[in-house]
């Protein structure tokens, strides 16, 4: 029996690379490496009662209005978006204890209002500036109190900082201006 001596013929594996290449190219094309990122917000729970703005002292409220023409009105005066962050920081911390700025960081409230016709891009830009103001204040506080970066702190310490300078951005219902239906 001459045939019995022959072992199994070896499977030709030279096309393995081609198959792998094909799969590789498929995944290369469909890959999106950049992770989903965005600005995280916590919406206030819904209540049917209208919040009463009269309960708050005017000096503690930093009202920001973005109108349908994407212009910025801060406390009744027009402002360049580039200045918003620094002005917000000054309002919250009130380093010179001015009469018209917030009594203390924990009492400061930012009231953000927009028209229905405001562009989303502008809204995000303004929101981003406000959040950046808080992030920078937290960073400063972390450096001053613990001489470490805010990101590196424990959760409990971070919470402490956030209680000292709480992020309060209240958003009023938008006014009915300028929406293109």
């Amino acid at each position: 029996m001459a045939r019995g001596k022959r072992g199994l013929p070896e499977v030709n594996a030279s096309s393995m690379a081609d198959i792998a290449f094909l799969l590789l190219i498929f995944f290369l094309v469909t890959t999106q490496i950049d992770a989903d990122k965005g600005i995280k917000v916590k919406l206030p729970p819904w209540s049917d009662e209208e919040p009463d703005p009269l309960k708050l002292k005017t000096r503690n409220v930093y009202s920001v209005l973005v109108n349908a023409d994407n212009e910025l009105l801060v406390r009744g005066e027009a402002m360049d978006p580039a200045e918003l962050k620094d002005n917000t920081k000054e309002f919250i911390m009130n380093p010179q204890k001015l009469e018209n700025l917030s009594e203390s960081p924990s009492q400061a409230i930012i009231s953000l209002k927009n028209d229905r016709g405001t562009e989303y891009e502008t809204y995000i830009m303004v929101y981003n500036e406000l959040k950046a103001a808080y992030n920078e204040l937290w960073e400063d506080e972390a450096q001053a109190a613990y001489s470490r970066e805010y990101e590196d702190l424990d959760i409990s310490l971070r919470k402490k900082i956030r209680e000292k300078i709480p992020l309060v951005i209240s958003e009023a219902e938008p006014t009915e201006f300028g929406e293109v239906k």
Partner: protein, 157 residues
């Protein structure tokens, strides 16, 4: 003379390609792991705005995607050019939100319900009216964690 005779025809030996598949497989596995397949085909055009204060979305399975934007060209004769919302893979209205969120909740572990997050992918040219409507609805439904999807921007303003 010598026992070990030099072989004749000493050309360059061929480079062995036997390990090529292994290398390719390694690359393949890398890409398989980092790939996130887009699970929804977009019906609306979405170009998210740019921002700097970004958080990463940690757990993909806890994210509900909501797309707001102008319908793509091939749908415009049917749905018009006004801003529409897309939930899952179809055009929806605000009234579809409760069911959409409830379906998502059914699919996720009950202990993880508080960590569900709504990712709003909104085109930058959209006006805030419809965005506010969605936000109000989300507040009424108790879905308070929201993520405004944005791209990273350099520090310059």
């Amino acid at each position: 003379m010598s026992k070990f005779k030099q072989k004749r025809g000493k050309g360059m030996p061929a480079v062995s390609t036997a390990s090529l598949p292994d290398i390719i497989f390694m690359l393949l596995f890398f890409f398989m792991v980092v790939t996130t397949l887009r699970d929804n085909t977009l019906l609306v055009g979405v170009q998210v705005p740019e921002a700097t204060e970004l958080n990463k979305l940690e757990e993909k399975s806890l994210v509900m995607y909501m797309y707001l934007g102008k319908p793509l060209e091939q749908y415009q004769n049917l749905y018009g050019t006004a801003t529409r919302m897309q939930l899952g893979d179809k055009f929806s209205t605000i009234d579809d939100l409760p069911l959409f969120i409830e379906r998502k909740k059914l699919k996720t572990d009950e202990r993880k319900h508080p960590f569900l997050i709504a990712s709003m992918k909104v085109d930058k040219k959209v006006t805030m009216g419809i965005v506010s409507d969605v936000k109000t609805k989300l507040r009424k439904l108790g879905q308070l964690s929201v993520n405004y999807s944005s791209r990273a921007r350099g520090q310059d303003l």
